[in-house]
C-alpha cells in the first residue's frame, strides 16, 4: 500500500478547503450523524426545489477522509434530482464496498476516494456523509409518501 493511494492531492484539497461547508438557513431537509468509533460528525443541509437539490451544505468535524468526502459529495449532488442523488449515494457505497466500478463523469473528484477501499477501517469515514445525505433525503421521501394520505 502507498499513502498516495489514500491521501491524494484532491482529497487533501477538499479537506483543507472544504466546499459548501456552511449553514444553510431555511433548508427543508437536514440530518446529523456521528461515527461513534472516531467521533467524526457530519450535518447535511439540503434545500430542495421541484424535487431537485437546489442547494446543499454541510457542517462537521473529523478526519480528512470523512470531511473531504462530505465536501465532494455536496459538489456531486448539487442540481441533481433527489432520486439521482440517492442513486449516486448507492453507487458511492458500492464503490467503497469494491463492488461498483465508478463512472468517472458522475463521480468527478469522488473517484479519488476509491483508494480508501484498501483501508477497511477508514471506509466508514468515507461513507459517513453519504449515510447522512441518504437519511435526510429519505426523510423527504417519507414525508412525500405520507402526504397523500393526510397527516
Amino acid at each position: 500500500m502507498a499513502l498516495e493511494d489514500i491521501y491524494k492531492e484532491v482529497i487533501l484539497d477538499h479537506y483543507k478547503n472544504p466546499r459548501n461547508k456552511r449553514e444553510l438557513p431555511g433548508a427543508e431537509l437536514s440530518c446529523s450523524r456521528n461515527n461513534p468509533l472516531c467521533g467524526d460528525e457530519i450535518t447535511v443541509f439540503v434545500h430542495q426545489e421541484d424535487g431537485r437539490v437546489a442547494d446543499i451544505a454541510f457542517q462537521g468535524s473529523g478526519c480528512s477522509i470523512s470531511q473531504s468526502s462530505a465536501s465532494m459529495m455536496t459538489e456531486a449532488v448539487k442540481g441533481r434530482t433527489l432520486g439521482e442523488a440517492l442513486e449516486l449515494a448507492a453507487s458511492f457505497r458500492g464503490m467503497m464496498a469494491g463492488e461498483v466500478e465508478p463512472d468517472e463523469d458522475a463521480f468527478g473528484d469522488l473517484i479519488a476516494l476509491k483508494g480508501v477501499v484498501k483501508y477497511p477501517i477508514r471506509i466508514k469515514c468515507a461513507v459517513l456523509a453519504w449515510d447522512v445525505l441518504q437519511e435526510a433525503l429519505e426523510g423527504a421521501g417519507e414525508a412525500a409518501s405520507r402526504s397523500p394520505h393526510g397527516a
Partner: protein
Amino acid sequence: MSVTRERPAALDVARIRQDFPILSRTVEGKPLVYLDSAATSQKPRQVLACLQEFYERHNANVHRGIYLLSEEATELYEGARAKVAAFLGAPDPSCIVFTRGTTESINLVAYAWGRKFLREGDEILLTEMEHHSNIVPWQLAARATGARLRYVPLTDDGLLDLSDLGSLLTERTRLFAVTGMSNALGTLNPVRALADAAHAVGALLLVDGAQLVPHHPVDVVALDCDFLAFSGHKMLGPTASGGLYARRELLEAMDPFLGGGEMILEVFPDRSTYKEPPYKFEAGTMNIAQEVGLGAAVDYLTGLGMENVRAHEEELTAYALERLVEAGARIIGPTDVSVRGGEISFWYRDIHPHDLATVLNEEGVAIRAGHHCAQLVMRRFGVPATARASLYVYNTREEVDALVAALERARAVFGV
C-alpha cells in the same frame, strides 16, 4: 500512591524482546513498532508455551472429573488463582474471582453488589476520566435501583480535581469507583488516599485496575481497596483472562452474578443454594486455559519485578513526552511522570488522529486513535479523539524515535 524515587536496575529490554515472537515481524516492510499495549499487550513465549502445554497435556474441565487430567487442570487453574492473589497482595486466593476481564468484573460488582445493596437516593461516585466500562455498568445499576451517579471533575492537567471532594463524597455515597491509571490520560490516581476518603464516609472503593495492574506494583491491602478489577490480556496474558479482587466478606454478602453449573451446591425446582466464593461467581465452564496462561504471565512479570517495570516505563514515558513535545505534539494528560503512566494521548499539528494512525501504520508504527472508550475525557478536553501511544516492558527509546520520525512523515503528507 507514592512512586518510588530510587531507580532500580533498568529492565534488560533487549532480552525481554526476544521473548515476544510478534515483535520480530514486519509491517509494510518495516519493523513492527507496537505502541498500543494499553489496548492489549503482546504475549511472551512463556505464556504461549503454557497455553500449548495445557491443551496438549492437561486439558479437561475443572472441579468435576474424577480422573487425572481433571485433577491436573484443576490444580493448574487454582494455582493460577493463587499466583494472581499473591501478585496483588490479596490475603487469600478465595478473594480472586476469575472473569473475562475488567469489564466483566465491574459488571459483576454492579450487578451482584449494586442490585442487592443500592437503594433510591444512594450515590455512586465516579470520575470524568473513567473508561466506559466503569461508567455504563453503574448507569444500569442506578437505573435499576434509583441510585444516582456523581462525577469527580478533572483539572486542565488531567488530574482528578479533588478540591470539592467533600461535597461529592458524602454519607449518601455507597461506592466510589475510580481508575487506578487512566487509559486515556495516563493519570496515576492516589488510590490509597481515595480509599481513606471513601471509607471515612462509609463508602466502598472500587479500583478499575485495567491499566494499573499491568504497569505498577499493586498491593490491595496497602491500597485498602474493596474491589479491584483487572484484565489479563493487558498484562501479557491471554485474551478473556482476568478477574476481580474483592474483600471476602463482600463476596459472601453479594448475590451471584451468572447462574448455572458449577456455582451451586443444591438445586431445587424453586431455589438453589450456592457455593462459597469465589465459586459462587464462576458459573459454567470458565476460560480455564486462559487463566492458567494468566498465571504464566504473572510469573513473567514477577520475574521482571513490578518495581522495575514501573521504573522502566517511567523513564521511557519521560523520554517519549520530551520527544513528542519537541516535535510539536500537544499532550493531553499530565506531563509529570511521577503521576502518570505510559498511556500517552496527544494531538499532532491538527492532523486528525485517524489520519495520523493511517500514516504511522505505513511506517510500521501501531498506535491507537479514537476516543479510547472515554468520551467524558474527550468532551472535557474539547477533542473528538486523540492519538495514543502506549508503552510497556518491551518498548525502547528507538521505538519512540521511530514514532517521532513517522510523525514527521505525516507532517509532510499533510503539509502542516
